[in-house]
């Protein structure tokens, strides 16, 4: 089956071989630009371990992504030698960036990347191209001039990864991907730390049959920030529930909706790519557009139910959640919302909720 290197061991090996590694907080950032500077982005979403020191710096009602990231940063891990990057995803992460930079202090540089928000138009496109340029200038101060050829190669590699991810995603929606829920999301998440060449090899090694694989499992689309905890994914597998489609920030919301033309001008390509990403709560776009997108995805994957896997206290998601649930339920599709603290096993109540969703979907399948 798949041979995915362990995150910690892989990054340690990379660091020992002299690789520059930047800790990147969720979620949208120009990874191709980092690759072009020979920097490996290692994304920090839900590092395991107890939260011991981070709570002293944060309010109780801050999401566990921020808490866990800060706990990780406070340990000053050796592997992160090229700094931290905080994309402007939400206010909590923005505040964390300020704290880490100005109050706590870390021995490596701290960068921000202010993604545009709201409705997108020509001005926002120009803004995005400008901040890409600014980001390049800031990185050049530490890492020397950008090699344009390297950026071009990085964009081509990124384009191949995106295209392959899109193929795999479509294959999963149409029952042509022989991977369990756990395997699929493990594969997706490997892109958070592998070198692009290694990741592409991994993606290419998955074969996609021409014909659909018979699938009598109940079909679910999962939405939220992160995929469910691995224990929960296994439980879905045990119950013959298939997460056929995702609308996750750590998943499909980071892959352009359609296959782009191969890159010519890197900056234009990166800008185009950003504006072709699916709607997302963290971009504060139109709720109507987000609903239409979700509905279309449900149709394409023939999902019979939707699971919202909500990170506790995640403001952007909670803002959209209520309206999305209502609008989806109005279309007649069953919706289950579950809170997650990211780590910790599956409670009896969680199991009951998941099983009950399965019973509800199966009842509908037989009638």
């Amino acid at each position: 089956m798949m041979n995915i290197p362990n995150r910690k061991e892989y990054l340690q090996q990379q660091s020992q071989s002299g690789q520059q590694i930047m800790g990147v907080l969720p979620a949208l950032y120009p990874r191709e630009m980092l690759w072009a500077f020979d920097i490996l982005p290692a994304e920090i979403w839900d590092p395991p371990g107890d939260i011991l020191h981070a709570n002293a710096h944060l309010q109780a009602t801050i999401c566990p992504v921020v808490k866990r990231s800060l706990e990780f940063i406070l340990k000053e891990p050796d592997i992160i030698n090229a700094g931290y990057l905080f994309p402007h995803t939400c206010d909590s992460l923005q505040n964390l960036a300020t704290q880490v930079k100005d109050l706590i202090g870390v021995p490596v540089p701290v960068y921000s990347f202010y993604n545009p928000k709201g409705e997108f138009n020509r001005t926002t496109r120009q803004y995005y191209t400008d901040i890409l340029g600014d980001f390049q200038t800031i990185l050049e101060q530490q890492h020397g001039s950008l090699d344009r050829k390297k950026l071009s190669t990085a964009c081509k590699l990124g384009h191949k990864i995106d295209s392959r991810r899109l193929e795999l995603q479509n294959a999963r929606m149409t029952d042509r991907l022989p991977l369990s829920n756990s395997e699929y999301f493990q594969l997706i998440r490997a892109g958070e730390y592998l070198q692009p060449e290694d990741y592409l090899k991994l993606l290419d090694a998955i074969s996609i049959p021409d014909e659909p694989i018979p699938n009598d499992k109940a079909r679910i689309m999962v939405s939220g920030i992160l995929p469910p905890h691995p224990d929960m994914l296994e439980y879905f597998d045990d119950l013959h529930l298939s997460l056929v489609a995702d609308d996750l920030l750590a998943g499909s919301r980071r892959i352009p909706r359609i296959k782009l033309d191969p890159p010519q001008d890197p900056m234009e390509y990166l800008t185009e790519r950003f504006f072709l990403l699916p709607p997302c709560s963290t971009k504060a776009g139109s709720l109507d557009e987000r609903f239409r997108y979700l509905n279309k995805r449900i149709g394409n994957s023939q999902a019979q139910g939707v699971l919202f896997n909500i990170v506790k206290f995640c403001e952007p998601e909670l803002f959209d959640h209520h309206l999305m649930v209502k609008a989806l339920k109005d279309t007649g599709i069953p919706v289950l919302s579950m809170d997650t603290e990211l780590q910790g096993g599956l409670s009896g109540q969680d199991k009951t909720r998941i099983e009950a969703l399965g019973e509800l979907l199966r009842d509908r399948m037989v009638s």
Partner: protein, 263 residues
């Protein structure tokens, strides 16, 4: 041919309930015992009690559906179904016009919408804490030195209520301690506690909505004061089964019967 017989067993956090049905859906035996520390054992005891009451043996039973948080531990079960589906089916059997089921058990509470055939349409369930559950009432009964019967006295809806602002068991308990220290009458505190549960349930009800008749199940439905408050809050009467604790097991037994007849 002797009639076929079906069992539903609900291994809950506090009580283990069992229903024995014949193939016409007639209840032949109902057992409620404390779950104690071992749910698997409680299920065995309840099963044996029902069999000895009806002078049957295990071999006479065609199918058994287990439900409740301990459903996976029932060795003699032939199938398992969540208590969410079972309360829906059980409530439908007792009150066929039920559209909304509110189940308040020992450690969790749920609101379930069902269709005209008793099938689940939507549901919501409380978080991992004990807010809005029977456990909340038990902790408070202990603190007030009242038994559960006393804690469930019907109250004067117009009467004074001690304000309990927290639905969280830990915070509410400290509020009760300070109310007792201020010599607040215990009836007022009881009233406040019941309101606190109803408020918690109300927020779940509003998240999925009410349709059709409302049926209240689970042990807390025995709390008469709480039922009155809930009816006032919902603005409509609530069906309360004679034996609300048994509804999950009844639903499970009907699911066993239906599964068996459908092969």
């Amino acid at each position: 041919m002797p009639p076929r017989l079906f069992v539903g067993v609900d291994v809950g956090s506090l009580s283990t309930d069992l229903v024995l049905l014949n193939d016409q859906g007639k209840v032949l035996s109902e057992i409620i015992i404390a779950t104690g520390v071992n749910g698997a054992e409680a299920a065995e005891i309840a099963f044996d009690e029902a069999l000895s009451e009806t002078e049957l043996t295990r071999g006479d039973i065609s199918a058994v559906t287990a439900t409740g948080y301990g459903r996976a531990s029932v060795a003699f079960a032939t199938g398992k179904t969540t208590e969410i589906s079972c309360h829906g089916v059980g409530a439908h059997q007792l009150f066929p016009n039920t559209g909304t089921v509110i189940d308040i058990g020992g450690q969790d509470s749920k609101v379930i919408q069902i269709d005209a055939r008793g099938r689940m349409l939507d549901f919501t369930m409380n978080d991992k804490c004990a807010a809005g559950t029977g456990r909340f009432l038990e902790v408070m009964a202990d603190r007030l030195e009242l038994d559960l019967g006393e804690l469930s006295n019907p109250l004067n809806l117009e009467g004074e209520t001690a304000p309990i602002s927290s639905t969280c068991t830990v915070f509410a308990e400290s509020e009760v301690i300070s109310l007792l220290a201020k010599h607040t009458p215990r009836e007022q505190i009881v009233n406040g506690l019941q309101r606190s549960i109803v408020n918690r349930i109300w927020s779940m009800v509003t998240s999925i909505g009410v349709q059709g008749e409302v049926t209240l199940t689970g042990g807390v439905a025995n709390n008469k004061g709480l039922v009155l408050l809930l009816e006032a809050q919902l603005g409509r009467p609530v069906n309360v089964p004679d034996n609300p604790q048994i509804v999950g097991a009844l639903g499970a037994a009907h699911i066993a019967l239906k599964g068996y007849s459908q092969g």
